[in-house]
């Protein structure tokens, strides 16, 4: 396409074919045929959280947190107060009533704030922390929340500090998850630190003790998610994917994802070691309880934690690094990337499992079990057994910069945020049109005719 716009100076064959799968403009399965560009931020928008059915909040490097209405696209509130970029956003709803929610924000200005999204008021704030918090974890059942930066702090609803760890390291805590039995797993560089909360009768006496440190990762941990009550998963910078037991913190499975070079096989092996490791970095993990999807480099990797086997993979799912993924209930999968697009995938059974052409189409791949096999040879028959195909069903192009994150608002649509300062709400055009028709006839009735 670009070529003929440029004037057709180059012959079509001159450009190397991109290995990235490209879907045409005809996307019958793509329902997002309507969009609204939500302008309001002045810098990169990095975070999106859903507040309730109708509302979501976005936070960016401009220190702004904006509350939006997904249906109208209206900006409901501007939460101003942070002087530097937002580093984490979380929704805080106390155990007493889940109806009234608050927003927790952390910023590089070393402040933490709680906001009322209905009024836009800053309810509580604490500033001049020792370090800025990089992640927030809300323990809803305990009515407590934890901020993780260079140290970990535990707060109650009234912003009184209950407990604080010592200075961890310069890397600080990059991710936290809640584990059963009042335990917390925090990813600190290459380690996962397990803490246990000792709940006392009064909140003030609640203490936290470090239980153990899991040191199986070779490189810094980039992603940490809880899959179910029994399992949690972590992914590292060099493509290690470890499935842990949530109760005894033992390694259940360990994968090392290594995207192999497609064609010139032998020489490439040598290169592989020196290759930029970011290609294998696990940037994001998402799970639906059984399957996990890992954003590995610019590829996607779907793994079944129950069967401990890979389900599907695509090495070059995007032109650039994948930043965020999402698993939808019906085998649908979404990913967004630095290339500015959101892609929608579907897990499909391979039509002909042994067909080499299909495998060749999306490139060779290798993955090794670091514990057992070191050689990269594939056992096709064995692997193809449970293997399914990631089929591209549609893509959303709208942002002119990297898509940082997206959230699904159910049938109301999908929201994406990006480095181009924009938030885009993608909607089902047919549904919206129908809704507008309903509105129209409502208004018609109110007006008593035209």
């Amino acid at each position: 396409m670009l070529r003929w716009i440029l004037g057709g100076r180059e012959a079509p064959g001159a450009v190397e074919k991109s290995p990235v799968m490209v879907i045409g403009e005809e996307q019958p399965k793509n329902v997002f045929t309507e969009l609204q560009v939500l302008k309001g931020h002045y810098d990169i928008v990095r975070f999106l959280v859903q507040i309730d059915d109708l509302r979501f909040a976005s936070g960016g490097d401009d220190g702004l947190v904006l509350v939006w209405n997904i249906q109208t696209g209206e900006c409901l509130q501007e939460l101003r107060g942070h002087t530097q970029q937002i580093t984490a956003v979380a929704v805080y709803s106390g155990p007493t009533d889940g109806t009234h929610v608050h927003l927790l924000t952390a910023s590089s200005d070393r402040a933490l704030s709680m906001w009322d999204p209905d009024t836009g008021n800053r309810v509580k704030t604490v500033s001049d922390l020792l370090s800025s918090a990089k992640c927030l974890l809300v323990l809803h059942h305990l009515d407590l929340w934890i901020s993780g930066g260079n140290e970990m702090c535990m707060w109650d609803r009234n912003f009184s500090l209950l407990w604080r760890t010592d200075h961890h390291s310069d890397a600080g805590i990059s991710a936290m998850i809640e584990l059963p039995k009042n335990c917390i797993a925090a990813a600190v560089d290459k380690e996962i630190v397990i803490y246990r909360l000792n709940i006392a009768s009064s909140e003030e006496d609640t203490t936290v003790s470090e239980i153990c440190r899991l040191t199986d990762h070779q490189d810094s941990i980039r992603a940490l998610i809880s899959v179910s009550d029994q399992l949690f998963v972590s992914g590292s910078h060099v493509g290690e994917l470890i499935v842990w037991d949530s109760l005894n913190w033992s390694v259940q499975a360990s994968e090392r994802i290594l995207w192999g070079e497609p064609r010139p096989a032998p020489q490439a092996e040598i290169k592989l070691g020196a290759q930029k490791q970011s290609e294998m970095s696990v940037r994001h993990l998402a799970s639906d309880g059984e399957l996990i999807v890992a954003a590995v480099g610019s590829g996607l990797y779907v793994y079944n934690v129950m069967r401990k086997s890979v389900v599907a993979y695509r090495k070059t799912a995007h032109d650039s690094n994948v930043l965020h993924t999402l698993l939808l209930p019906d085998g649908q999968l979404m990913s967004c990337s630095e290339d500015g697009s959101v892609r929608m995938w579907e897990l499909q059974d391979l039509p002909l499992p042994a067909e080499p052409a299909s495998a060749g189409f999306f490139g060779m791949w290798t993955f090794g079990r670091s514990s057992k096999q070191t050689n990269q040879t594939m056992k096709k028959a064995q692997e193809i057994l449970g293997l399914r195909m990631l089929e591209l069903t549609g893509d959303l192009i709208g942002h002119s910069g990297a898509v940082q994150m997206f959230i699904s608002m159910g049938e109301r649509g999908l929201v994406t945020c990006s480095t181009d300062h924009l938030v885009i709400a993608w909607k089902n055009g047919k549904r919206e049109s129908q809704l507008r028709s309903f509105d129209l006839f409502c208004k018609l009735e109110q007006n008593g005719g035209l």
């Binding site: 396409m1 670009l2 003929w4 716009i5 440029l6 004037g7 057709g8 045409g24 403009e25 005809e26 996307q27 019958p28 793509n30 045929t33 309507e34 969009l35 609204q36 560009v37 939500l38 302008k39 109208t72 696209g73 209206e74 900006c75 500015g340 549609g394 192009i397 709208g398 942002h399 002119s400 181009d420 924009l422 885009i424 055009g429 047919k430 919206e432 049109s433 129908q434 507008r436 028709s437 309903f438 509105d439 129209l440 006839f441 208004k443 018609l444 035209l450």
Partner: protein
């Protein structure tokens, strides 16, 4: 025995059953009556005695030194005026001023009072000159003038009497706007002048005071000199107080009239200044050294006061201020803009104006859909106008039953006009304390007297300045015009050359062969010379006049041999009409109609600025072909590349300038380019389809002129174009964002071989699914496939239509049909809502599809067009003022595109 024919007649009369009414018959008010003239006389070639070639506006003044004199004309073109005697006509129009305006001492008041008189509006005619005029008298204030007043008048002069009569309402409204502007500016200037004068007087008083003191001191006793000085001082003091009072009056003028948001009248009403004047103590001592610190500091202007001579020289050699000196410069320009706009509004033949007024009325009714393809006018403003006119602005009832027909139509129209006048006056009389009611009341008795005498409902009133003028006062206008008696014989009025004779009614002149002229020249000149040029480029010379009377009033122009200089064609036109029609007996009948409006006509907020002659400049821009190339081009072979691209400025090249509203005229002109485009590009339909379904069309090219020309051509197909053509961006040289695709549905894009260019092409590539790309350099189009029938009819490259205007009409009619279908589709209940509670939405969707495909026989693509228009209608209907904060919704489809080549 009853014969069967009788029986038939009988049954018919009795009306067994309903009489069949053909649903396709046009309503009465829209039917055009057949021309009743016999022979080869066409409606366009009626008598024209006028010595001017098209309507113009004349501003005259009754100068206290030289009497009535013309000041300026709009348009200021000697060709328009021709041999018409402006001086003579100024005399005529200035001699009928009924304004009782003066500044002077009223009994019981020690100071002169300013009467803020309302303007008088008069219709006046001179059939000998072939000129009829709406005359709007107004009074401006000038400190140096006699009685402080300068009578002026603005006249709209046309050769078509009925145009003046039937457009009286509109003319009055428009001229009142201009007048209000002028007067507001004048008040401001007058106030400034008064302030200066006050300072002079202050200074004079101080000087005199000092001199008197000196005399007293020197002589010790009152010398004659000292007494003289004391007298002078007293005079100066009196004068000072008088002027101060005048200033107060001027400043306290009720500014309610100019409260419109469009004007910055803030400068005018400065309450602080009024207070200033009030509390300024009379200075007993004044710094004679010229350091006038207190006087000047308050006003910021460095004005050196001057000594005023005791006897101000009221001689005839003093120079009177010109019109623009009398008025604040801002307001003066506003006034001129308004007058140019008036000239523009009333250009053309009466039937044309009426047609467009009917169209406006009808369009205004279609609030829900008229934004799609129609010229966007400010409907709210129209509402305001309607209110001013007492609710009978141009209602159907007042629309002409028959513009071209004979007496009855005219009569009725006029009556309705009269009624309108009444309605207008009533609600305001209580509020305004203008003593003109007595003038009205006095009329009826006079009238009856006259009736008995002359068997005409006329009245000679020589009560006011214009001695022989005959007035029909509006109070008895009813009787007058319903009475069919016509005094066709010349009413010999008192004496002199300008026998202002009262036309007992328009019927007298209506279709009487002599001067009831449907006046073609004015309309021919409608678009001036350039229009001709355009036609020349591609017109086929039609052999007879009769054929041309069909669609366009300006088709008369085509009758004249094609390649001609403008002046020549004008001249020839005149000759033609002169020859065609036997010379009418110059019955110097004059029609005169008088009305004193007590109506404070609001300065209607004009947020658009009327540029002078916007059309002419546009036209020139569009057709920058010079005369020589014009001759060589024929209809089919000319292509877009012929267009000169020398002009570079975006503003200049823009077919639809950003800051001025898009008008039908501009669109009609674009029709020609569109026709060319359709003939030239086989994939024109696909491009038009993209526009109609709301997919942004990017016209890509290296050459700005070519791209702009194409964008211009395609503009007529863009739905919801916006008042200022916001949906079109004719020339873009940088990359665009997704949000721009919401706003721009048609973009001209500069193909550049620079880094910016590659960035731009990148965005093109990136958003390729949302846009269609028309490459003018390679003559390719990349867009979705179109297989429907709607656009096929709209853009048939084998069309027989030759002229751009006609083609535009064709397109417009098809778009109107589409619009109505979209309306039906949108508001058809069962297409969107379930009929029964058990019915699911899928069933509704199925019904919807069925309706589109089978009921209307639409293809998938045609459905998309209707659906898109429907969404626009829905959004417009649902939009509330408070929802402005919501970002626009951008709809698209995932559909593959094809690449079309020539």
């Amino acid at each position: 025995m009853i014969g069967s024919p009788d029986l038939v007649a009988f049954t018919k009369d009795d009306g067994f059953g309903e009489a069949f009414v053909d649903p396709w018959v046009l309503p009465e008010e829209f039917s055009v009556p057949l021309c009743t003239h016999g022979g080869n006389v066409t409606p366009w070639s009626a008598t024209n005695l006028a010595k001017f070639t098209k309507d113009f506006i004349l501003i005259s003044e009754f100068s206290e030194q030289v009497g009535p004199q013309p000041l300026l004309t709009i348009p200021d073109d000697p060709r328009v005026i021709g041999t018409f005697d402006l001086n003579y006509f100024s005399l005529r129009i200035m001699s009928v001023d009924y304004q009782a305006s003066f500044v002077g001492h009223l009994p019981g008041c020690s100071y002169p009072k300013i009467n803020f008189v309302e303007d008088s509006k008069v219709v006046l005619g001179d059939s000998k000159e072939g000129a009829f005029a709406y005359v709007h008298h107004l009074t401006l204030y000038d400190l140096e003038a006699r009685g402080f007043v300068r009578p002026f008048c603005m006249a709209y002069i046309s050769a078509d009497e009925r145009k003046i009569m039937q457009q009286f309402q509109q003319l009055s409204l428009q001229f009142s706007k201009a007048s209000e502007l002028l007067k507001a500016g004048n008040r401001k200037a007058f106030a400034t002048e008064l302030e200066k004068k006050l300072k002079d007087l202050e200074y004079t008083m101080a000087v005199l005071h000092k001199e008197a003191e000196r005399h007293k001191r020197n002589n010790g006793c009152y010398s004659t000199q000292a007494i003289e000085k004391a007298n002078e001082l007293a005079n100066a003091e009196k004068s000072f107080h008088e002027h101060k009072d005048l200033l107060k009056q001027v400043k306290s003028f009720p500014n309610r009239k100019s409260k419109g948001p469009g004007f910055s009248t803030d400068s005018l009403d400065e309450p602080s200044d009024i207070a200033d004047v009030d509390h300024n103590p009379i200075p007993t001592e004044f710094n004679l050294d010229g350091e006038t610190e207190d006087g000047n500091s308050s006003h910021g202007l460095s004005y050196t006061p001057q000594l005023i001579k005791a006897k101000s020289a009221k001689c005839f050699d003093k120079r009177l201020k010109t019109l623009d000196e009398l008025c604040d410069v801002y307001f003066f320009h506003q006034t001129m803009d308004q007058l140019h706009a008036i000239e523009n509004i009333f250009r053309g033949d009466l039937s044309y104006i009426y047609t467009s007024q009917i169209e406006q009325v009808l369009l205004k009714k279609q609030k829900i859909t008229n934004f799609l393809f129609e010229e966007v006018t400010d409907w709210d403003e129209e509402e305001a106008v309607k209110q001013i006119c007492g609710g009978t602005h141009i209602s159907e009832s007042s629309l002409p039953c028959s513009i071209l027909s004979g007496e009855p139509g005219i009569q009725e129209t006029f009556i309705s006009c009269e009624e309108t006048l009444h309605i207008k006056i009533e609600p305001e009389t209580g509020e305004e304390e203008i003593p003109e009611t007595e003038c009205r009341e006095s009329s009826p008795c006079d009238t009856t007297q006259e009736n008995s005498d002359e068997s005409t409902y006329t009245e000679i009133k020589d009560n006011l300045s214009s001695g022989e003028s005959v007035e029909v006062n509006e109070a008895e206008g009813h009787h007058t015009f319903q009475e069919p008696t016509v005094n066709s014989e010349s009413f010999s009025s008192a004496s002199n050359t300008k026998d202002l004779r009262e036309g007992t009614g328009p019927m007298e002149h209506s279709m009487a062969t002599d001067n009831a002229t449907s006046f073609p020249n004015a309309s021919d000149e409608d678009d001036g010379s350039v229009e001709t040029c355009e036609d020349v480029v591609h017109a086929q010379v039609l052999p007879t006049i009769g054929q041309k009377a069909d669609v366009h009033h300006r088709s008369v122009h085509e009758a004249s041999p094609v390649i001609q200089q403008d002046t020549a064609s004008c001249g020839q036109q005149e000759d033609m009409t002169d020859e065609a029609v036997p010379q009418a007996s110059p019955r110097s009948s004059t029609f005169f109609f008088h009305r004193d409006s007590k109506q404070p006509l609001d300065l209607v907020p004009e947020d658009r600025t009327f540029s002078r002659e916007p059309d002419a400049s546009l036209l020139l821009r569009d057709l920058d072909l010079d005369g020589s190339t014009r001759k060589n081009l024929d209809d089919t072979s000319d292509n877009i590349s012929c267009v000169s691209t020398s002009t570079t400025s975006e503003r200049e090249m823009s077919p639809f300038p950003r800051d001025s509203p898009v008008t039908v005229k501009q669109k009609r002109r674009a029709g020609q380019s569109a026709l060319k485009f359709i003939r030239q590009y086989p994939f024109a339909q696909q491009a038009i389809y993209s526009l109609l379904r709301g997919r942004t069309l990017v016209v890509l090219g290296v050459d700005e002129g070519t791209v702009r020309k194409l964008v211009n051509a395609l503009t007529i197909f863009v739905p919801n174009l916006g008042k200022y053509g916001e949906r079109v961006h004719p020339w873009l040289s940088c990359s665009f964002q997704l949000a721009d695709l919401h706003n721009w549905k048609l973009v001209g894009l500069h193909r550049m071989a620079s880094p910016t260019g590659s960035g731009m092409l990148h965005s093109l590539n990136r958003y390729s699914r949302y846009i269609s790309i028309l490459d003018t350099d390679n003559k390719t189009l990349r867009c979705p496939l179109y297989r429907g029938s709607v656009v096929t009819h709209m853009a048939d490259h084998r069309t027989q239509i030759k002229r751009g205007g006609t083609y535009y009409m064709h397109v417009q009619s098809m778009l109107t049909e589409l619009t109505s279908k979209a309306f039906l589709y949108t508001f058809c209940h069962h297409l969107h809502l379930p009929i029964s509670p058990t019915e699911g939405l899928d069933a509704v969707a199925l019904r919807r599809r069925d309706f589109l495909h089978h009921q209307w026989g639409y293809s998938e693509e045609d459905c998309r067009i209707v659906e898109f228009l429907s969404e626009l209608i829905k959004n417009a209907y649902l939009q509330r003022p408070d929802q402005q904060t919501c970002p626009p919704v951008f709809c698209f489809n995932f559909i593959s595109s094809l690449l079309y080549k020539i």
